[in-house]
Amino acid sequence: MKENIKKIFHNPMLIVFILILIFFTPLSIYSPGENRNRGIVTAIGIDKNNQEIEISLLTFIPTANQTYKVKSSIISGKGTTVAEAVYDAQLQMGRKIGLAHAKTTIVNEELLSEDVSMYVDYLSRVASLPENTVFISTNNTAKELLETSQSLENELGLKLEQLVGFNANNIYVTDTSLEAFYKGYFSEVKSSIIGSISLEESDKGSNQEETNVDDSKENSSSNKKISNKGEAVLLKDGKMVAKLNIDQLNGINLLNTRALNQIITIDNVKLNDDLYTLNYRIKNKNIFSNTNFENDIPIYTIQLKLGMELVEINGLHDAIKMNTEFSEINEEIQNKLDIEIKKQFTNALNVLKENKTDVLGINEKFFRENRIMYLKYIENLENIDDFLDKVNFKLNVIIQPD
C-alpha cells in the first residue's frame, strides 16, 4: 500500500493537480457568484439630448427561478461621452456591465446627423461586444424603443433582433450589424445601410380586440408600438443622408441574390377580357453581371433571371377560377413586370446617385474586373463618389414562371 502511494506521488502531474486543487478550491468556494458583480446586457440604446449622451441598457440579472422567464429592466446612464455614460449606468446598476451577450445596438436618428462611428467607437473598442450585434436606428429615442421592445418580448416572446433579423434576411441589402456598418464605412466609398425601426402612437381605443401580427406589433403596456416598415437609413461617412422605404430597398435588392420574396404589383392586366391587378412574388433569382468600358464610358450590364410566382389577383372575382391559366406569364405580363422592375431599380439607383452612396459595390466590381481602366477613369474625376453617376446601367430582365 505504502509503495503504491509512493508510486502515485512520484508522478509529477499528480502533484501539479493537487497544487491546482489546493490553490483553486478555496478560491472557488469563497468567491461570490458572477451575477453579484456583473449585469448582462442584451441590448444597448444610445441617445443624444443637448450635447449629453444617454445610454440605455436592457439588462437582466440572472436569478434562480422555476420558470423560463427572465426579468429584465432598462438601466440608463448619462455623460458627455459614451464611455462616461456607460460608467454612470454601471453606478446605477451597482454592477459591471457584461456586453458579450448584447445582440442589439440602437441609435436615434439625431446621432446620425453626425458621424455615428464616434458614438459606436466605445462599443467596438470594448472587444467584449460582438460585432455581429444588430445595429439599427430609430426615429424616436433608443430608450423608448428598448422599453417598447421589452414588453414585446414579455408578451409575444419576440425579440427585437429577431424582428430586425427578418428584415436583414429579406429586405436589407446586407446584414444590419456593426460589422456590416464598418465594412461600408471603411470602404473606399464610405457608404453603408443600417436598418430602421419606428415607434408609432398606439391607437388602442379603436382596435383593442385586434391583434396585428404582420409587421407591426402592438405594445399594450405603453402608448407606443413598434412599427417595422422595413425602412433603412443610408449613411455616407457615417452620417445619415437618406431614409429608404421598402420599395427603394426592394429596388436595391434586385441585385442581391439573398433577398427574395419581394412582391411586384402590376395593374390593368387584361385576362379573359377583364382587367386585373396581379401580385407576383420573386421566388428565385439568378444574377449575371459584367463591367466594361465602351468608348471610355463605364458600362454595368446586368442580366436578372427571376422566377416569379403569382400570389394574388385583384379584380372581378366572379370571373376568376382557380385554374392554371392565370399562372401563365404571357407577353403582356412579362412586359409589365419588366417595366415595373426596371422602374423600381431606376428609382433606387437615383437615390444612390443623388446621395453618392455606392452601397451596391459598383466601384469595387469595376476595380476587380477592369482595374486599369477604372483607376485611369477615376483619376480624371474630382471625387471617387462621382463614379456611380457616370456608370451606364444596362438591365436585362428575364422572367420565368416558377
Binding site: 509529477p12 501539479v16 439573398r258
Partner: protein, 363 residues
C-alpha cells in the same frame, strides 16, 4: 537534457504546431494593416523560404546523425561562435514563448474574462509547461501526437463553419513592392519555425525514406495557415484590421451561428490546446539552448530559471502584449532575420566544410 529520440511523425506534428505560432490570431490583422490582402502572397513567400530550411536540416542530419547542433557548430566553426548562436537561440525562444502567451492571454481576456487575470493564467500554464520540460521531449511529443487529431479537427471545423457566411474573393495586388517587403521584414520573427528542428537535431530518429514525411507534414501545416488567411480576408475584407483573433473571429462573427449558440467554444478549445503545445515547444527550445550554454547546470535549475525569467519579463512589462506588439517591429525583425536567413547560411557553410573534408579524405 537527456531525452529519448522522437519519431519523424512526432517531429512533423511539432513542426505543424510551430508553424501555427503567432499566425492564427493576430498576424493576419497586423499584416492586413500594411499590405491588405496581399498578406496572402507574403505568407506564401515566407513559408516557401521556411521550407528551404528542411533540405538543409536533412542534409545536416545525414552528415551528423547523432551529434548535437552545438557540437557540430563548435567542431566546424568555433566554440565561441556556437555559444553566440545559442545565446541568440535562447533569446529567440523566450520571446517566442512571451509573444505566443501574451497574444493568447489577450484573446482569452476579450472572450471570457474582461478583467486582468494574468496570474490566474500563469498559474494554469506554468505547471503544464514545467511538467512538459521535466518529462522531456519524447513524453510531451507523445502527448501532442495523441491530441493532435482533435486539435486539427477543431482547426478545420473553425475554417469549415466560417464558410457558411457571406464571403467574397479578397482584392489582391493592391500594395506596392516596398510596403510588401517591409511587411515581410517586420513580421520575420513570426516565421523561421524550423529552427526548433535544428535544436533537437540529435533527438529525431530519421529512418531511410522518412524524410518525405517531414515535407508532407510541413506542407499540410502551411496549407492550413494559408487557408485561414484566405478565409479571414474573404470574410472581413476592409475590416480585417479590426479583428485581432483570426481563427476565433472567422467563427464568431457570423449572425447565423450566433443564433444557435456560442460556437466559438470550438475556437477557444483549439486555440488553448495549440497555445499550450507551442509554449511547451518554445520553452523546451529555450531550456535546451540554455543548458547547452551552461552544461553543468541541473535541468530543474534551468526550468526554475525559465519560470523566473518568464515572470520577471512580465513583471517589468517586457512580456506584455502591447509592448511586445508595438516594439516588436524594431527588435524582432533582427532576430527573425538571423533565424530565417543567417542561420541557414551558417548551416550551409558547415555542410560545405564537411563535404570538402570528406572529399579531401577520399583523395
Amino acid at each position: 537534457m537527456i531525452d529519448k529520440k522522437i519519431s519523424v511523425r512526432q517531429a512533423g506534428i511539432l513542426i505543424i504546431i510551430c508553424l501555427m505560432a503567432n499566425k492564427i490570431l493576430l498576424l493576419p490583422s497586423l499584416m492586413f494593416q500594411q499590405i491588405k490582402s496581399d498578406s496572402i502572397f507574403a505568407i506564401i513567400l515566407m513559408f516557401s523560404l521556411d521550407l528551404i530550411f528542411l533540405p538543409i536540416f536533412l542534409k545536416l542530419k545525414s552528415l551528423y546523425p547523432n551529434e548535437k547542433l552545438i557540437e557540430i557548430i563548435s567542431k566546424k566553426m568555433s566554440k565561441i561562435v556556437a555559444k553566440i548562436i545559442y545565446i541568440i537561440f535562447a533569446i529567440y525562444f523566450i520571446f517566442k514563448v512571451l509573444l505566443v502567451f501574451s497574444i493568447t492571454y489577450v484573446y482569452f481576456k476579450q472572450q471570457i474574462y474582461q478583467d486582468e487575470f494574468l496570474w490566474l493564467i500563469i498559474i494554469s500554464c506554468l505547471p503544464v509547461i514545467n511538467h512538459a520540460l521535466t518529462v522531456g521531449l519524447r513524453a510531451f511529443s507523445r502527448t501532442i501526437e495523441l491530441l493532435f487529431s482533435i486539435v486539427i479537427v477543431g482547426f478545420i471545423l473553425c475554417l469549415a463553419f466560417s464558410l457558411f457566411t457571406e464571403m467574397s474573393m479578397p482584392i489582391l495586388f493592391v500594395s506596392d513592392i516596398k510596403s510588401f517587403f517591409s511587411s515581410i521584414y517586420k513580421h520575420a520573427f513570426s516565421f523561421g519555425d524550423y529552427l526548433f528542428l535544428f535544436v533537437i537535431i540529435d533527438k529525431i530518429d530519421i529512418k531511410k525514406g522518412d524524410s518525405k514525411k517531414l515535407y508532407e507534414y510541413s506542407i499540410f501545416g502551411m496549407i492550413l495557415v494559408i487557408l485561414l488567411f484566405i478565409i479571414f480576408f474573404s470574410k472581413y475584407q476592409v475590416t480585417a484590421f479590426m479583428h485581432n483573433n483570426a481563427l476565433a473571429d472567422i467563427l464568431v462573427f457570423s449572425i447565423q451561428f450566433n443564433a444557435i449558440g456560442r460556437l466559438d467554444i470550438i475556437a477557444m478549445l483549439t486555440i488553448m490546446s495549440i497555445t499550450l503545445f507551442q509554449l511547451e515547444i518554445f520553452a523546451y527550445g529555450f531550456c535546451d539552448s540554455f543548458i547547452n550554454l551552461f552544461p553543468k547546470l541541473n535541468k530543474f535549475v534551468v526550468i526554475l530559471f525559465f519560470d523566473l525569467l518568464f515572470a520577471l519579463l512580465y513583471y517589468f512589462s517586457i512580456g506584455k502584449y502591447e509592448i511586445l506588439v508595438n516594439t516588436s517591429h524594431y527588435w524582432s525583425p533582427m532576430l527573425g532575420i538571423f533565424v530565417n536567413y543567417v542561420f541557414p547560411i551558417i548551416c550551409l557553410i558547415i555542410i560545405a566544410l564537411s563535404r570538402r573534408r570528406k572529399n579531401e579524405r577520399k583523395y
